[in-house]
């Protein structure tokens, strides 16, 4: 019976960032996770996670070299759940201004820009390193999070862990799921479009609040499987 089959999460390894905390967070909520660096391995996955910490240009080069760009596109086209975390969110955009202009995966129209430079004395430090809150854009339905991986997260109350100097500006404001306030800007801290969920923060480093997001993924996958 298909229902008893364990869900497998593929975590894309392209040499950037701590994949192991992502894997351990998946395992903590009962998901089987494996780390992959070959596009052919995506086929057996019920969900794909693109994590990442590091430089945008370098990441795109590596994805290219490892021939992972088409498999990522194909996976997203398949309609199965896809998660982009931190750099993995930024890479979905059209372009980034990090160390010169770089083309992204262009799966979501939008740009990646740096936090404005502040004076060091009293200004916000860049990178943002630490805990912050998320909230809903005022033009979005109040109950939108209920149908997303953010279900159960309390806006403007729960703390989530962020580490980044750059943030995304999606061309369509409609896909923004949450905003966060830092260095004088309200920026997109998570987005959702079709089967894509992407977040600038690190759910796997955000204590019980972050694990709730992985828990929600596990629940989503169960539902998904029933539909199949």
């Amino acid at each position: 019976m298909a229902y008893s089959r364990r869900q497998k999460i593929a975590i894309v390894d392209y040499g950037m960032g701590n994949l192991f905390s992502v894997k351990l967070a998946c395992e903590r909520v009962g998901l089987e996770a494996f780390i992959v660096n070959k596009g052919s391995d995506f086929l057996k996955a019920s969900a794909l996670i693109l994590p990442g910490v590091g430089a945008f240009g370098e990441a795109m080069d590596t994805l290219n070299k490892l021939n992972l760009i088409e498999p990522i596109r194909n996976f997203i086209d398949s309609g199965k759940p896809f998660l982009g975390i931190c750099l993995g969110m930024q890479l979905l955009m059209s372009e980034s201004e990090e160390f010169g202009l770089h083309k992204g995966l262009d799966i979501i129209k939008g740009r990646v820009i740096r936090f404005p430079l502040q004076d060091f004395e009293g200004g916000s430090k860049v990178p943002q390193v630490g805990w912050n809150k998320i909230f809903k854009p005022d033009y979005k339905p109040k109950d939108e999070w209920e149908n997303s991986l953010l279900k159960g997260i309390k806006e403007r109350e729960d703390y989530i862990y962020f580490v980044h100097s750059f943030y995304t500006i999606p061309a369509s404001k409609e896909i923004i799921l949450s905003l966060t306030s830092y260095a004088g800007v309200n920026y997109c801290s998570s987005l959702q479009i079709r089967n894509i969920f992407a977040c600038q923060f690190h759910p796997e480093r955000s204590g019980p609040t972050g694990l709730q997001i992985y828990e929600n993924l596990a629940i989503l996958l169960k539902t998904h499987q029933r539909v199949e």
């Binding site: 040499g15 950037m16 701590n18 060091f120 009293g122 990178p127 390193v129 703390y159 955000s206 204590g207």
Partner: protein, 285 residues
């Protein structure tokens, strides 16, 4: 008051299998098993953890990997690991064991370009530069290595700026003079470094009571505070009873049940409540 949320970080100095604590980074006492302390801090709301293998530089070994692996399975907050990491391969090994960031001191002093290379390979935010500062008779602050024993001749403020320019994501700033004394952080040192670099500065060394945390955040402009003794002595009793700690190292203190008088132990809840009361923003569970 700082606009940003301040992080409260537990620093665990590790020697072999044990959590230890010294004064001025020397005279180490065994306190217990690091994983037990780490789990307790995680559950009570610590924002990050730092594991420092404090003898690794001296003996060229790294016994931390197993401890990191066990910790990463249970603790879902950022874990920084330092001590004896010599090159990119060492950094990779530690990250692959479950650390999120690495802290470099000796390796970066010997070859500052490792900061650039490591930042490019693993991301700036992964690279924390640890600076051990000792105040000189003429008032200058010089950077040291190997727990304050190795002279580098580097001016702390110049070195901090250079590290930031080369791509460091954060600075872990230790006042060796204050470390383990419980007499408070070095406010002047912290303020001057914090105002010299665009990246976050973690103040370390000297916390003995709650008031010290407030001082280093408001006057010292620290973006994060690192604590050891205050937290460790708070958890001390629980871990001491029935703890199967290894006999390696100086366990006399542990067996004696003594206290260290300058330190006023506090748990994380008490610390966070205190900070919020002082209008300092921080995460509360």
């Amino acid at each position: 008051m700082p606009e940003q949320n301040i992080r409260v970080i537990a620093r665990l100095d590790i020697k072999g299998p044990n959590l230890v604590k010294g004064i001025h980074l020397e005279g180490l006492r065994v306190l217990g098993k690091p994983e037990q302390f780490a789990r307790y801090y995680y559950e009570t709301g610590v924002d990050e953890l730092i594991y420092m293998d404090i003898v690794a530089t001296l003996y060229g070994r790294n016994s931390l990997l197993e401890i990191i692996k066990r910790t990463a399975k249970e603790i879902f907050i950022p874990l920084t690991v330092g001590g004896g990491l010599r090159n990119l391969a060492d950094i990779k090994t530690v990250l692959r064991s479950g650390a999120d960031k690495v802290s470099l001191n000796t390796a970066a002093v010997k070859n500052p370009n490792i900061i650039k290379e490591a930042a490019r390979k693993f991301g700036s935010s992964t690279i924390v530069i640890s600076i051990e500062a000792i105040k000189q008779d003429d008032g200058r602050y010089l950077a040291f290595v190997e727990n304050g024993r190795g002279h580098t001749g580097l001016d702390v403020f110049e070195w901090a700026k250079k590290a930031a320019e080369l791509g460091a994501g954060e600075i872990l700033l230790t006042s060796v003079d204050q470390e383990g004394t419980g007499l408070g952080y070095d406010i002047d040192l912290t303020k001057k470094v914090a105002e010299s670099v665009p990246i976050p500065v973690i103040a370390n060394g000297g916390a003995g009571k709650l008031e010290h945390l407030k001082e280093v955040i408001t006057e010292g402009k620290a973006n994060a505070v690192s604590l050891a003794s205050m937290l460790h002595y708070g958890f001390f009793d629980k871990s001491r009873i029935g703890n199967d700690f290894s006999l390696e190292g100086n366990t006399e203190f542990l067996k004696s049940g003594q206290r260290f008088s300058k330190i006023e132990p506090a748990d994380l809840m008490t610390i966070k409540n205190f900070l919020v009361k002082q209008n300092i923003k921080c995460r509360k569970l």
